[in-house]
């Protein structure tokens, strides 16, 4: 039999249903791959092989009776910020080392209800704060891709670096991920995979370790646009346990595929041409425009004038929310507690200093600063007003365009260690993705080409709130036109 781990989610689900192979077979094939690759890629922080095989056998029993859900028997990887009942969940932090949730996140519960199999938990930047996976307490994930020009180890991006690396390296059929400023789309772009952040409120945040609650949103990283449509549908649901969950129907987004873009109006925002953007990124963007034009779409130049303020606003809002959310880690009820302390305050301060890594400490300090007396209005409230300006920019163009095309990232994957020294350089990774978080809009990254070193590059499609259907429709045409088939050469 051909290598089952190279199948798309769609092909695997069809093959399982047709009983061409069993869930146990494909699960074992992934376990073999993970054992061979993980010492090099460091994508998984926990492997749940026994649980996976149990789930696979249960799926096989259902499939034998002609039963089973839309993901029946499909082995997936789960980002380590989704709480999984009885399986360690750390969000990449020493603060939560050994934390075993006694409950299941809604997103993962939805997946198990649809028949999916859990291979394990995927590495990530600590509390999802990072763009290179280097802030993880478990060490950085390595990108399966290497540049032809150098043997340097590359970042898979972040914060969902483990998810992206595992999908690109055939260590799972598809993976869950989460996106606060670009943490699904940037790693997808860096690894030649597809990643979509849906409209804020589509996927429940219940049981997701919180970073910045008004921005956090779950979504999948997959091998194809079709796989993303399938997995996103299973992940999304209305959930009374999440106060910002939207009580809306989750459509079948595979119905958008194959429709073409004839008659659609695609916006190209002039403010996304940024200083120092490599010519290769501009060329890829131009190509995307040509593909959509060739497909019969009308290209419309648009202006989103507040784009350049999105990242600085984000770096007030996200740390402010984090400083409030992460106040729960006080060493009392769960999480790390320092062993030596002179007073209660000292115990809090020592537990948090020992439990949190450098980047998390940096952001919590910024958050405390911008929320502190005397600075609250000047920083935090102003950032919230700028956020509305950014959302209004989008509102103002939706009567002229149906979707927006941009690059996903300002560069291809960079070498581990390259940007660690300068936080702002690292933050600039999210320059094209963060606007969709601030405005709550759906955004997808589709692999669309390679740079001169053969590294994947992505194009992003942003849509109206709750209009993932059009986003998938456009993404499908980009995928077909790009014909992206490159795979990383196995070096591990």
């Amino acid at each position: 039999m051909s290598d089952l781990t190279k199948l798309t989610l769609k092909a695997a689900v069809d093959g399982l249903k047709a009983r061409d192979f069993s869930s146990e077979e494909i699960t074992r094939a992934f376990v073999t791959n993970i054992e061979a690759a993980n010492p090099a890629l460091n994508a998984y922080v926990v492997q749940t092989t026994d649980k996976a095989l149990d789930m696979a056998r249960a799926s096989d029993a259902r499939l034998a009776k002609g039963e089973g859900g839309p993901l029946e028997g499909a082995p997936l990887g789960i980002k380590d910020l989704f709480c999984t009942d009885g399986v360690q969940t750390t969000a990449g932090s020493n603060m939560l080392k050994g934390f075993i949730p006694p409950y299941e996140s809604t997103v993962t519960a939805n997946l198990w209800a649809d028949g999916a199999v859990m291979l394990g938990k995927l590495n990530m930047d600590e509390f999802a704060m990072g763009s290179s996976n280097e802030t993880s307490a478990f060490g950085p994930v390595r990108n399966p891709w290497k540049s032809k020009a150098s043997n340097a180890e590359l970042t898979p991006g972040g914060s969902s670096g483990g998810s992206a690396s595992a999908v690109a390296g055939d260590l799972c059929l598809a993976a869950t991920a989460s996106d606060t400023g670009g943490s699904i789309r940037q790693p997808a772009a860096f690894t030649g995979t597809v990643g979509i952040k849906p409209t804020y409120g589509r996927a429940s945040r219940f049981g997701m370790v919180a970073f910045a609650s008004s921005l956090d949103q779950a979504g999948p990283i997959t091998k194809t646009v079709e796989d993303a449509a399938i997995l996103l549908r299973s992940m999304c649901s209305f959930d009374p346990k999440d106060s910002t969950s939207l009580d809306v129907e989750t459509p079948d987004w595979t119905a958008s595929l194959g429709k073409g873009v004839k008659g659609l109006r695609i916006g190209v925002p002039k403010e996304y041409v940024v200083d120092g953007m490599p010519a290769e990124i501009q060329a890829l963007w131009d190509k995307g425009v040509e593909w959509l034009k060739a497909g019969g779409a009308e290209i419309v130049e648009i202006s989103l004038p507040h784009t350049k303020y999105a990242l600085p606003a984000y770096y007030i809002i996200a740390p402010a929310e984090a400083s409030s959310n992460l106040a729960r880690y006080d060493g009392m009820r769960f999480g790390h507690r320092a062993s030596e302390a002179k007073s209660l305050t000292d115990l809090y301060e020592s537990s948090r200093a020992e439990g949190f890594g450098t980047e998390v400490q940096r952001r919590l300090t910024i958050g405390a600063y911008v929320l502190s007396a005397g600075f609250y209005d000047a920083y935090y409230v102003r950032a919230l007003k700028v956020r509305r300006r950014i959302a209004q920019d989008f509102d103002a163009v939706w009567d002229k365009v149906d979707a927006i095309l941009t690059p996903s990232t300002p560069s291809a994957a960079f070498a581990l260690g390259d940007k660690e020294i300068d936080p702002i350089q690292m933050y600039l990774n999210d320059i094209f993705t963060v606007t969709a978080n601030l405005a709550g809009l759906p955004g997808i990254s589709v692999p669309a080409g390679v740079d001169s070193g053969g590294l994947p590059l992505g194009l992003q499609v942003i849509g109206k709130a709750l209009d993932e259907a059009t986003v998938f429709q456009v993404a499908d045409v980009l995928e077909q036109s790009a014909g992206f088939v490159a795979k990383p050469e196995r070096w591990w």
Binding site: S214, S243, T244, R382, R387, R388, R389, I424
Partner: protein, 95 residues
């Protein structure tokens, strides 16, 4: 706006993160760099703009005020650094 070591000491305390003296200066430089970059927000005209706290336009949902969950002492305590007899054990706080 430049942040000095004394401000970092104060803010680190607000964030309840113990920060050794020798880290104060480097952190002050890092945070000043980030805040300088953030200063560009002052260019934006935000007169009359309502702060945007949420992407979700819907009002918060209400539900009946009834017990929906509970009797989970063991689960609640399962990740406690220290517990005894169904309670969290914390350091003595009253001297």
């Amino acid at each position: 706006m430049a942040i000095d070591a004394a401000t970092v000491r104060k803010v680190a305390h607000l964030a309840r993160i113990k920060t050794p003296e020798e880290r104060l200066e480097p952190l002050a430089r890092e945070l000043s760099g980030i805040l300088d970059w953030i200063e560009q927000l002052n260019e934006v005209d935000v007169d009359g703009v309502e702060p945007m706290t949420s992407n979700v336009a819907q009002p918060l949902r209400l539900r009946e005020d009834v017990v929906t969950d509970g009797d989970k002492v063991a689960e609640v305590l399962s990740n406690a650094p220290k517990s005894a007899d169904g309670f969290f054990v914390v350091p003595k706080v009253v001297e």
